[in-house]
């Protein structure tokens, strides 16, 4: 694996893009661009990452990019890579078939994009799907998504979200695809390594990147990476990868999963953000915190169980 000093000079996302300062999507996308290299094509669905490109005729993304409609990321990347593969077979292009990847948010992955994504995974199409997960529809002004944590306030769950989030990475894993990983902007070297690994694998690859959004989660932009670190340390976000069904853990998740370390206090992670204010001030605070912790413990137990399972 290339050390950070050997990473390519290639910048997928150019300076002057329209993202918020401290945007975690842009941070992750920059790393993805360096790991994939220049022979790649990006498919997007509506998201902050599309808005960040800027206004036509300018473009902040230095890569061939197609913005398809919201429900269609999975199939669109499938179709583009199939089109490239057959064009190379027919001799219209020479050299390596470009890597085709999706860059979508949690809406385009967990919710409106799920049907088409699930089908692409079931077909094991040769694509790399990224979900930058900021746990809300940030682009439209912070509404709940299937990735929003329980009790988090959004504009459509102003009293706090009543239900737990979906466990989408494990749902994708059960599509029996060759590679599924979670990552975080807290550890860009881990992300880089996972992207590099996924790029070399034939078939369907899924990488979900935890991307704390300061405007949605109500914290200071400068704390973006620190919040992402707290998420991993507290067990609110798990770092793991499943390569041909061999599951391994990374970073603080590895220590927690191996019992070498207790997760750090969840309250510290939650109270560093404004979106849990109502939970933290609620008379049911202790009961609800206990439930959140139990859910996170359940998620860890489930993936550990899955890692031990040899079918």
């Amino acid at each position: 694996m290339a050390g950070i000093k050997e990473w390519s000079d290639y910048e997928l996302s150019l300076p002057g893009n329209a993202a918020c300062g401290g945007c975690p999507s842009t941070m992750a996308l920059r790393t993805v661009g360096k790991a994939l290299g220049e022979n790649a094509v990006m498919i997007m669905t509506p998201s902050c990452a599309v808005a960040s490109i800027g206004l036509l005729p300018k473009s902040a993304y230095d890569i061939p990019t197609l913005n398809i409609c919201f429900a269609g990321a999975g199939v669109s990347a499938s179709a583009v890579v199939n089109a490239f593969e057959i064009a190379h077979e027919k001799g219209r292009f020479e050299g390596e078939v470009p890597t085709v990847f999706n860059w979508t948010g949690d809406g385009g992955t967990y919710d409106i994009g799920l049907q088409s994504l699930s089908a692409a995974a079931e077909r094991n199409d040769n694509i790399l799907h990224f979900c930058y997960n900021n746990e809300a529809y940030s682009n439209t002004g912070i509404q709940r998504s299937g990735a929003t944590m329980q009790f988090a306030q959004t504009t459509t769950t102003p009293g706090g979200k009543p239900n737990p989030k979906k466990n989408l990475a494990q749902i994708m894993l059960e599509h029996r695809v060759p590679y599924v990983a979670t990552a975080s902007i807290a550890d860009l070297q881990d992300l880089y390594r996972k992207v590099e690994k996924a790029k070399a694998i034939q078939g369907f690859k899924y990488i979900e990147i935890h991307a704390p959004c300061f405007t949605a989660w109500k914290f200071a932009a400068a704390d973006t990476v620190e919040i992402a670190r707290l998420a991993v340390k507290s067990g609110a976000w798990l770092l793991w990868e499943a390569n041909e069904d061999v599951i391994t853990f990374q970073g603080a998740t590895k220590q927690i999963a191996e019992g070498k370390k207790e997760p750090e206090a969840l309250e510290e992670y939650l109270s560093a953000q404004g979106r849990f204010n109502k939970l933290l001030k609620s008379p049911d605070r202790e009961e609800n915190l206990a439930q959140l912790k139990a859910d996170l413990a359940r998620e860890l137990a489930l993936i550990k169980h899955r890692a031990a399972f040899k079918g």
């Binding site: 094509v41 599309v50 800027g54 993304y61 269609g72 499938s78 089908a119 199409d125």
Partner: protein, 385 residues
């Protein structure tokens, strides 16, 4: 038709369609099953599986994904194909708009079927006619030869105009009915339709271009204005490429409108799809009753061939439009509205009336159609017939 009987085949409309798609040599095919389209995509899947068609067949999980697949593959430089019917084309609606706006030369076959609710399996034109304003070009075949030939015409037109094109034909009446047609020879098809050679596509070999960013009002309005203008101009593309195809095949099936006994007619019946056959028969019946009737069958519906109708409908003629659809809230059908718009201010003494018939697969025997025409004439104008 100039058909060489030695080469004539007897086959269903769906098979005649699939044979033409094979001749067009698409790279990417994606479809979701729906009656009565299903056997088109099944046939193509087997062609790919047998290796007689060098393409990728993507067995998608929905029509929304089918049209998204061909739109994205088209942006990646591929020649593409999808087929659908009824609810399927309605579910595609969002991406139909996207495909036209993106100037992606996708070809789609819609096998016409009534739409839900209530649930119905049989033919009418509500499904595709209601996609009128998506920006797509629409051709309607009246028999299996036209289905076969229009598929190739659709590819030539779409790739020249850079506007997606759909070929529509009647569910069951054509899709599942064995009718004679003469397949186009492979050599002629290759000559008429060489491989697609895109000016631009997503492949990095074409440079790093984005089709993704937010478009300001002025640029957006320019994109849409060009689509509107060039859609109208596509009438000439369809006409010229149709004439070219007819010259190569000798089939003589390509024109915007198919006229029948129109030249001395007092009454002209306008229809679309396979019911045009019964419209011609009912013109004969009416003539036997002393009513000088003729028929004009719409083949090109989008863009609407207004000039052709202006030429074919002389002053003093009365026009009866039989729509296999409804334009809800207007009292008539969609073609009636289109034709009124086409003739408004162009003809001073042409009368137009119409009705919706044959919806949901109601059978249209020629005698019944002739009676319906007389009913319209009496109720609209009270002519002495």
């Amino acid at each position: 038709m100039g058909i060489n009987t030695n080469r004539t085949k007897l086959d269903t409309g769906n098979n005649a369609c699939a044979e033409a798609v094979k001749l067009a040599a698409p790279d990417i095919i994606a479809a979701y099953p729906i009656t009565p389209q299903t056997s088109v995509s099944e046939k193509l899947a087997s062609y790919v599986d047998e290796g007689v068609l060098h393409a990728r067949y993507i067995p998608v999980e929905s029509e929304h994904s089918a049209i998204s697949a061909v739109a994205a593959a088209s942006a990646a430089g591929a020649r593409t194909f999808t087929a659908t019917s009824s609810q399927g084309i309605l579910y595609m609606n969002e991406i139909l708009h996207y495909t036209a706006g993106g100037r992606l030369p996708v070809v789609l076959v819609n096998v016409n079927r009534a739409i839900n609710a209530p649930w119905c399996l049989y033919v009418d034109h509500q499904d595709s006619a209601s996609q009128r304003d998506t920006g797509w070009l629409q051709l309607y075949a009246g028999d299996n030869q036209e289905i076969h030939d229009y598929v190739l015409l659709a590819y030539r037109t779409a790739e020249e105009a850079m506007i997606p094109t759909m070929v529509c034909y009647d569910g069951f009446l054509l899709s599942h009915s064995m009718l004679p047609y003469e397949p186009i020879e492979e050599e002629i098809a290759r000559k008429y339709l060489p491989d697609r050679d895109p000016d631009w596509c997503l492949h990095p070999a074409y440079g790093r271009k984005t089709f993704a960013q937010v478009t300001p009002a002025f640029e957006y309005s320019e994109f849409r204005k060009r689509l509107a203008q060039e859609s109208a101009l596509a009438l000439d593309v369809i006409k010229d490429r149709g004439a070219e195809l007819d010259a190569l095949t000798g089939h003589n099936v390509c024109s915007h409108v198919k006229p029948y006994r129109n030249e001395d007619a007092d009454y002209l019946i306008v229809s679309m799809g396979s019911m045009g056959v019964e419209a011609e028969m009912s013109a004969d019946i009416l003539r036997n009753q002393g009513i000088k009737a003729g028929s004009l069958r719409v083949r090109t519906f989008r863009p609407f061939p207004a000039e052709t109708f202006v030429e074919l409908i002389p002053e003093g003629t009365s026009v009866i439009v039989l729509d296999r659809n409804y334009a809800y809230g207007t009292g008539g059908g969609i073609i009636l509205q289109e034709l009124k718009e086409a003739l408004y201010g162009r003809k001073v003494s042409v009368r137009i009336a119409g009705t919706s018939i044959g919806v949901g697969g109601m059978e249209l025997p020629a005698q019944h159609m002739a009676d319906t025409v007389k009913d319209v004439i009496l109720s609209a104008w009270n002519d002495k017939i």
